[in-house]
Amino acid sequence: MGLTADEFTIQFIATLVKFAIVAGLLLQIPPVMVWVERRVPAMMQRRKGPNRVGIFKWRIYGLMQSLADTIKLIFKEEVVPEGAQKAFYHLAPVFSVFPAFLIAMAIPYGPDIHAFGTTIPLSIIRVDVGFLFIFAVSSLAVYGVTIAGWASNNKYSLLGSLRASAQMISYEIPLGMSLIPIVLIYGTLDLNKIVEAQSHFWKWGVFLSPVSFLLFLIAMFAETNRAPFDLAEAEGELVAGFHTEYTSAKFAAFFLGEYVSMFVLSCLASTVFFGGWQVPFFSVQKLDDLTGFIGVSALIGHVTLMLKATFFMWLYIWVRWTIPRFRYDQLMSLGWKYMIPLGLVNVVVTAVVIAAFRFS
């Protein structure tokens, strides 16, 4: 808060630049991921997948397929179903995109830049309760799904949305519980401080609390309604779930929300369990002094985080084409009967171990 006018101006401009970069990054994710989601299974099943669409004679592995798909989606006719709750029907895609983007603002994308006589943090919203902020905002994602299903005035939509929202609410609990041990271990709710605490390779969250990582990984798949927990859009039973009645750009907005929240959770998993922007066995922060350029450390740190997040994004697809879909009762019993008790035990054991270390 105690900023001079100059510092304020610099921070203001820096925030705008950071915002433009992050928003641009997030908007590129769905097109690329749709392409990956078709090429990777093709690879796994020894097919070719979309490999034709390119610019003039350069095919670039069919990457332009996504561009063609996007243009097609946007220019399709928009159909609003009869008897839909118009206002809510139009608002629902916004409700599903907004939380995903807001969470992305709190991820630390790299080490601080010390330049222009001030410190520029590489996350857009730097709060000391970064963890709680992320949970608070991600708990709002349920509204998009619930309202979309209800407002469409279609029984498949409503059933799909009820399934999806019940699943999201149920798995929010193990997701939150899996991260309590991490907060206990590092003693802070600030995501950037957690990353800084993981400077040593063997201090990464995944080594200090492997059970937490397992719970987080499972809950991460369920939170984003991805396979093997994609019951909300089990096409054999529910047509397409909550977005059955959506067409054109609104349908694309749901895609955007889903892929961005996948990416954000991937970033969070890398940040909390895999050292965020830290490179193993190497101190990134020293790079500025070593090379003499300001911002080199930020760049390398950022690329490191993106590589880690890319691994998780790839894992999403890998799992989708490996494990068959769960039944709904299996999903609920896994969440409530196994993951929540395991999470509770994990919290208690971690607390006892930490207390034992502190008082010994």
């Binding site: 006018a5 304020f8 709750q85 608002l91 608070a136 709002l140 509204y143 609410i169």
Partner: protein
């Protein structure tokens, strides 16, 4: 703090306050129950924004997490599953005696709580809770936790009894209504 950032803080406060008032009025005025619920979410979210401008990030995050993220979702579920229409709600009233009993018991409970803890030092007003002092004392979350789990442990626990009372009262009122008219099956 520079004049400009002070101006920003004030501007944000007044903007949020105006929006909160508007949304609160809309919660009560909306004919459709789902609209009321959605405005309530927006209202609670903006209220969290107000807490954030006061540098109480912990309270802001908890506000969104608990109220906007969990409780109103359940409201919305109930409204959608019962598929309440504006007409059906018009007949929903309870008598003056019941309402009076409810209000008196709740107010009485609050007075008891306040009377019990009136003599206790609040820690407010002596400058120990301004943003700079909090930052020096170990951050927002730490200070809130220390206050909540030491000085205010009894009010904190009693508040949960108050909420339980409200839940039981709501169930009693809802049950009594069901006996008179059979539930509509749509």
């Amino acid at each position: 703090m520079s004049d400009f950032s002070l101006l920003m803080t004030h501007g944000v406060f007044h903007l949020f306050a105006a929006l909160i008032t508007l949304c609160s009025v809309l919660v009560v005025m909306s004919k459709h129950p789902v609209k009321s619920a959605v405005f309530l979410v927006v209202d609670l979210f903006l209220l969290a924004g107000l807490y954030a401008t006061l540098d109480s990030h912990f309270v802001a995050a908890i506000q969104v997490l608990v109220y906007a993220g969990a409780i109103v979702v359940l409201f919305l579920f109930v409204i959608m599953l019962l598929n309440l229409q504006p007409e059906q709600l018009r007949g929903l009233k309870f008598s003056a005696v019941e309402a009076g009993t409810l209000v008196i018991s709740l107010v009485g409970f609050l007075i008891t709580v306040v009377a019990t803890f009136k003599g206790d030092q609040t820690g407010l007003g002596d400058g120990s809770l301004d943003p700079v002092a909090i930052e020096a004392a170990g951050g927002n979350t730490y200070v809130v936790a220390m206050k909540l789990l030491t000085n205010y442990i009894w009010p904190f626990e009693l508040a949960s009894v108050l909420i339980l009372m409200a839940i039981v009262a709501a169930v009693v009122i809802a049950k009594k209504d069901k006996k008179k008219t059979s539930a509509p099956i749509s």
